[in-house]
């Protein structure tokens, strides 16, 4: 039930609402619980609301770690 999906902001429509792309569909999402939203941000969406921003820097660090782990798998 606490599932939240990362989705991209296509356009900020007003202070409280953004158009977002969620699984290939465009939907209006309430952004009143998140600060400073702009086009291109990735937000976690739950029950029609954005509940937090995805931190791009932290996401990249995790991806780099996973790539490192994947390389270790290739070492014989």
């Amino acid at each position: 039930m606490c599932l939240a999906i990362p989705a991209e902001v296509i356009e900020v429509l007003d202070e409280d609402v953004a158009l977002m792309e969620i699984g290939g569909a465009r939907k209006q999402v309430n952004i009143s619980l998140v600060d400073d939203v702009s086009t291109g941000d990735y937000l976690l969406v739950h029950a029609g609301f954005a509940i937090e921003k995805v931190d791009e820097g932290e996401a990249r660090k995790t991806m780099e770690l996973l790539e490192e782990l994947a390389r270790l798998d290739e070492v014989p």
Binding site: M1, L3, A4, N30, S32, V34, I51
Partner: protein, 359 residues
């Protein structure tokens, strides 16, 4: 999809599994989030880690821990004249004392399944003659969305939207579990999205008071394996709260969401189905929002019955679903006896769907 597929790296899964095997030892860890329970079962993580790591599921499915009394209340409210009850779909089949909300619909109650509390607000705007009651169920991930909806309703002076709040909060439940004499879990895998709201600092009491290590993590297989490996390491190095889901979780959480909850709700004691009453673990509307509170309405409730279902022991990690005599016989997702079989995130339902061959 960006930020989903990016974390699905098979080579990294193999490396992490190997690392966990090399770490050795015997460990019992509890995941405290229904979405983790589902991810672990679906990806087949339990058999990957046997026999050294035992993953057990805690009371992390908000639907499952909604008490039969609260379901009875929701049904009674739904049957009041002029009421339309709006609820998340998961709640429809949860058994109360005398049937579920789905049964109440067949008896004439007006119940609508919604995806967002904002849909309930829209229903109230469009039909001013109806009393629209939103059934508020969920942990800290969901509670701020409901709080923001109530704030919006008040701003628009909508007088026909009401809330039945059965929201619950995670830290008081973890404190209650940690305080049980017979509770022996070596580490907690903590929820990702509850933590996005409340922040990693909200859990520091767990290592401090109970000596249990904790890792907050995401929902991909690599996230969960990383959490397990870190928990094993902390058993030697000393317990702390580690945040492996830093792409979504900050130390202090989401201040705007916390503030919305703080304005609308106050903590109250709440009954967790199958467990007991946990002090300060529920969220009730504050005095300022009393006019919106459908929980204050007078309704007649049936006398409570005892079912013999063992969901409570499952939620504390004492037994696994197949040890319950009802599991997969009398109790199935189509016809659930206990709440853990109802929600797709319930421990029993996830075992029923994915793990029966394991046993």
């Amino acid at each position: 999809m960006k930020y989903l597929d990016d974390f699905r790296v098979p080579g990294a899964v193999r490396t992490l599994v190997r690392r966990i095997r090399e770490q050795g030892g015997e460990h019992t860890f509890m995941e405290v989030c229904g979405t983790h329970t589902m991810a672990i079962s679906r990806a087949g993580i339990r058999p990957m880690l046997e026999p050294s790591v035992d993953l057990i599921s805690g009371p992390g499915c908000p639907v499952c821990v909604t008490s039969d009394r609260d379901i009875d209340t929701a049904i009674a409210v739904a049957k009041l004249p002029g009421v339309v009850l709006a609820t998340f779909g998961d709640m429809m089949k949860v058994p109360g004392t005398e049937g579920s909300l789905a049964d109440a619909v067949s008896e004439g109650a007006r119940v609508r399944v919604v995806y967002s509390p904002l849909e309930a607000l829209q229903m109230a705007r469009e039909d001013r003659g109806a009393k629209v009651v939103f059934l508020g169920v969920g942990f800290e991930t969901t509670a701020p969305t409901v709080a923001a909806t109530m704030l919006q309703a008040r701003e628009e002076n909508i007088q026909n939207l009401f809330l039945l709040s059965f929201h619950k909060t995670v830290p008081p439940a973890l404190r209650a579990l940690g305080s049980l004499d017979e509770f022996s879990v070596d580490g907690f895998v903590l929820p990702g999205h509850v933590s996005a709201i409340i922040g990693s600092d909200a859990y520091t009491f767990i290592p401090d008071e109970f000596g249990i290590p904790c890792v907050i993590t995401g929902f991909e297989t690599t996230d969960i394996l990383q959490a397990v490996s870190n928990l094993i390491r902390m058993r030697t190095e000393g317990p702390a709260v580690e945040n492996e889901y830093s792409r979504a979780v900050r130390a202090g959480g989401n201040p705007k969401a916390l503030s919305a909850m703080e304005i609308v709700f106050e903590p109250v004691d709440a009954e967790w189905r199958g467990l007991f009453v946990i002090p300060g673990s529920g969220l009730a509307l504050k005095e300022d929002f009393r006019d919106f509170d459908a929980g204050a309405w007078q309704v007649e409730l049936p006398e409570r019955a005892i079912s013999g279902c063992r969901c409570g022991e499952i939620l504390c990690g004492r037994i696994k679903p197949p040890e319950c005599p009802f599991f997969a016989g009398e109790c199935t997702p189509e016809s659930p006896v206990g709440p853990c079989m109802v929600s797709s995130e319930g421990t029993c339902a996830s075992y029923y769907l994915y793990c029966q061959e394991e046993e």
